[in-house]
Symmetry: C2
Subunit: 205 residues, 2 copies
DNA sequence: GATACCATGTAAGTCGTTACATGATTAT
DNA sequence: ATAATCATGTAACGACTTACATGGTATC
C-alpha cells in the first residue's frame, strides 16, 4: 500500500508533468492546500513511485546546477490514483496542539491566556486574509475555473476547505476569548455567546 | 523539548491522577477530543515523563493481572505545562486525505464520486450526532461545567471545537456534492451554492 | 556582500501505528 | 464458549522533520 503523500503527488502529476521542486513548492507549509510536506520527504517518495512504474522521469540537463528532473504520471499511476480515490477513507486523527492549550488554559494566569488567544486570533486572521486573496484571484481571473469540470476545480475545492477551516478555528478562538472575558468581568454577560446551535450549512439555507 | 503528546498527558494528569490505561481510553480514536494516541505510544511516553521528574507513579498491586500504575503530575510537571501553554504555537500541518480525493475527484466516474461523497457525509453526520449527544449530556448534567472556571471547561472547549470542525467538514462535502450534481444535470442551477461569503462568526453577530 | 530562490539529494532522529505478548474479569 | 474490557508493556516498521551537503542565478 502507498502513503497518502504518494497519492497527493500522483494527484499533482495528473494535472501536468512536474519536477520534485515544483511539487515541493505546492506542498510547502503553511500554504500547501492539498497536502503539506518538505522536500526531504518528497524526493525519496518520487523515486519510489518511479521504481513502482507509476511515474516516469525525464532528465533535462542544464548548463549549471543539478539537472531538472521532470516527472510524468503513467497510465498505471492514473489507474492506481482513481482506484484509491473511490474507496472510502477512514478519518485521520487531526491532532491539534492548540486544543491541548485550550484544555488546560484555566491553569495559566488570565492575562497570559488572553494574550495567547489574541495572538492566535491574529495569526488566523492573517492566514484567512491570504487565503481570501487567493480566492479572489481565482474567481476574478476566470469564472469557469470554479466549475466542477474545470481542470482547476481541485485547487478551488482545497482552497474553499482551507478557508472554511481557518474561519471555524478563528471562531472557536473568539468563543474561548469571550468565555475567558466573561469570567474576568462577570458583570458583562452580554459578551457570552449562545450554546452550540445549528450548523452554518443549515443556517445558510 | 517534549512532544505534544507529553503535554496532552500532563494536561490530563493535571485534572487528576490516572493510570496509563485511563489516559489511553481518553485518547482513543475516534472520540479522543483532546489528542489521539494508542497505548503503544502512551506507555513509553509516560515512562519518559517519570524519568524526567514531571510525573510520579504509584504502583498498586492487585490479586490478578499486572499492577495498576497510577500517575500523578509533580510540581515540576505543572510548571512545565503552564510554561508551554503560554508560548504561542506554530500551526500544525493538518493534512487530510480527503482533500486529495476531492482535488482529483473529477478524474473518477460521476457515480463513484457521488457515492463517495454520500458515504463521507453520512460518516460525518454520525460523528456529529455522537458529539452532540456528548454535548447534550454536558449541558444538561451541570450547567456550570461549561463555565471557564469550571474544572471541566477544558473538555467542553475541546468538544465544541470537534463539533465545529465536523460540521465545517460536512458542509464542505455537501458543497462538493452540489457542484458535482450541477455538472451532472446542468439545468438545475438552483442547487449551486453561492461563493464563499462572510464567516459564520461574522454572521452570528 | 547578503539574502532569497532554483534544484537535487541523503542521514539522523522523532513521532506514530501495528502487531506481538500476557493474563484476569465480565457480559452475551 | 466467545467477545469485550481491564491492564501493562515491547518491537518493528513507516511517516515526517531537521539538518547536512552542493552549487548556480538573481535581487537588494
Amino acid at each position: 500500500m502507498l502513503s497518502s503523500l504518494s497519492y497527493a503527488i500522483l494527484a499533482l502529476l495528473a494535472t501536468k508533468p512536474q519536477s520534485g521542486y515544483d511539487i515541493a513548492r505546492q506542498m510547502r507549509p503553511p500554504l500547501g492546500l492539498l497536502w503539506q510536506a518538505k522536500h526531504g520527504q518528497i524526493y525519496p517518495e518520487l523515486a519510489r513511485l518511479v521504481k513502482l512504474g507509476l511515474v516516469e522521469v525525464e532528465r533535462i540537463d542544464k548548463q549549471s546546477g543539478p539537472p531538472r528532473r521532470v516527472h510524468t504520471i503513467t497510465a498505471a499511476g492514473r489507474s492506481e490514483l482513481t482506484r484509491w480515490i473511490v474507496k472510502s477513507p477512514q478519518a485521520r486523527p487531526a491532532n491539534d496542539e492548540f486544543v491541548i492549550k485550550a484544555y488546560a488554559l484555566r491553569r495559566v494566569p488570565l492575562g497570559a491566556a488572553t494574550s495567547l488567544l489574541n495572538d492566535q486570533i491574529q495569526t488566523h486572521e492573517h492566514r484567512i486574509a491570504a487565503l481570501e486573496q487567493l480566492h479572489q484571484a481565482f474567481v476574478s481571473r476566470n469564472t469557469k475555473a470554479t466549475a466542477f469540470d474545470s481542470p482547476r476545480f481541485g485547487e478551488y475545492a482545497a482552497l474553499r476547505r482551507a478557508i472554511g477551516f481557518e474561519r471555524e478555528h478563528a471562531a472557536w478562538c473568539r468563543w474561548l476569548l469571550s468565555e475567558l472575558t466573561a469570567t474576568e468581568k462577570p458583570g458583562r454577560k452580554g459578551v457570552r455567546q449562545p450554546a452550540v446551535g445549528r450548523s452554518s450549512a443549515a443556517r445558510r439555507k
